[in-house]
């Protein structure tokens, strides 16, 4: 009997394959999380002409990022913790950061699929096309935006233990962000409220996405949004990781 500590790459490959199999099994929920951005693309065609293609595309991606980062990630973490799945994985010689990295990699892949889907549907449905630079920048910013919501999800899963509570909180947060996203900027009259919406997690992500799709429009506000996004990630992820427990007891 020899004790061998497995290579981190082997551990990651096994976890990643299993997480991918889980994601594939849940493809219906993946499709549902892509549904809202697609609905936006189909129903906001007039806005695309009025407010510009990047506005519609960035709103669709920003809303999709919330479903993936906030809903899918948070709920899967909460479920697996509640069911003791993490507890079983932690008995193996798998560093906890590898378990998390595998989960987050799946979400990042989902973000790539979402962004690509929005670009394709946006092109065919709303006739919105971007420059090559715009497409490339948008992918990177989508990942950054995804990180904002993933860290927010991590914070919720860290501060709350009960699955039902987490489920309710993520749904309420999703609804609030969606309302802010679809109507906030358009309907808000008060300048302070408008400013708060602009620099909320949703507002920052949407602003960065919009500017990355049309890099010539990147301005001081967008840079502020970028810095505020980093601050959100640090605070949310810091609180989420510090308070996260691998079991509910």
């Amino acid at each position: 009997m020899e004790t061998t500590i497995p290579k981190t790459s082997t551990v990651f490959a096994s976890l990643f394959r299993a997480d991918l199999q889980v994601a594939f099994s849940n493809r219906r929920s993946v499709i549902i999380s892509l549904l809202v951005p697609m609905i936006i693309l189909f129903t906001w065609k007039p806005f695309a002409q009025k407010m510009g293609g990047p506005f519609v595309l960035s709103t669709a991606v920003a809303i999709g990022l919330i479903s993936i980062g906030l809903m899918a990630y948070t709920l899967s973490m909460a479920r697996d913790r509640e069911k003791g799945i993490f507890q079983r994985l932690r008995l193996a010689p798998a560093p906890t950061w590898v378990i998390m990295t595998s989960r987050i990699t799946i979400q990042l892949m989902m973000i790539m699929v979402l962004t690509l889907g929005v670009f394709i549907v946006g092109f065919y449905q709303d006739k919105v096309s971007l420059s090559a630079q715009g497409y490339i920048c948008s992918f990177f910013v989508a990942i950054l935006g995804g990180a904002v919501y993933l860290s927010l999800g991590q914070m919720i899963a860290g501060l709350l233990k009960n699955f039902e509570t987490i489920n309710a909180v993520t749904r309420i947060t999703y609804f609030c962000f969606m309302m802010v996203g679809t109507m906030g900027e358009i309907l808000a009259v008060n300048p302070t409220v408008k400013q708060m919406i602009r620099f909320s997690p949703y507002g920052c992500v949407r602003m960065m996405l919009g500017a990355s799709m049309d890099p010539a429009k990147w301005n001081q506000d967008t840079t502020t949004a970028l810095l505020v996004s980093f601050a959100y990630i640090i605070v949310f992820a810091g609180l989420g990781i510090k308070n996260f427990r691998w079991e509910t007891k």
Partner: protein
Amino acid sequence: MTIDQDKYILNVDDLSVSYGDFVAVKNVSFKVMHGEIFGLLGPNGAGKTSTLSSIEGLIRYKSGTITVDGKDVKADPLYAKASMGVQLQATSFQPELNVVQILQLFSGIYGVPMSRDRIRGILKEIGLEGHEKKKFSQLSGGQQQRISLVISTIHNPKLILLDEPTTGLDPQARRQLWERIEAFREQGHAVLLTTHSMEEAEAICDRIAIIDRGQVIAIDTPQTLIDTHKNDPDVIAVSRRGKVTLEDVFIALTGKTVRA
């Protein structure tokens, strides 16, 4: 069966575990030797699971040291985990994965990746041929238990920890599991198990430790414990079958009160 008394695989020394102000485990010490089946017995809430969780690295203990194969579990947690195979009281896997996918996952994270053919071979060995595509929840209790045990020992660990392994099993499945545990011992593995079944402890454990209110109150072979305590008035008072059993000794030592 020979137990190598000079060599121990697990050393728990002066272990204390607290949850806030509540002390769950207080100054617990014991050793598990190579090729030994060691039972940890105690009423509900006695501190068995906290002790086991400390060894498994699932909880941070307050004080004391735990070494597995000579290495401190806090200082070298990955080595300790790689040296151990653990079966929890209730095992959960991702409900979306089937039996083959679960085995592929765990063989990979224990560093012994397996082909589908090899996995099919293992499933055949444990009588689960044809269940490859089933989800874990679709298996019977006994089948789930066999899969869990395969996963716990997939990397041929030196130490196997089993937390109440026969709970909920029918007599046939329980006997089959006992045989498997004894086979592990014959292969040189050390086994640490917790159980509420005195029959089980008497049947398969080489030594047992009785833990109560977070402390070890007795540690020896089942027969020696019976012989030592058979004339105690408390033991005779609780004896029901004319002859003193391990259960009588256990109840006399831990009291008749039902624990939460």
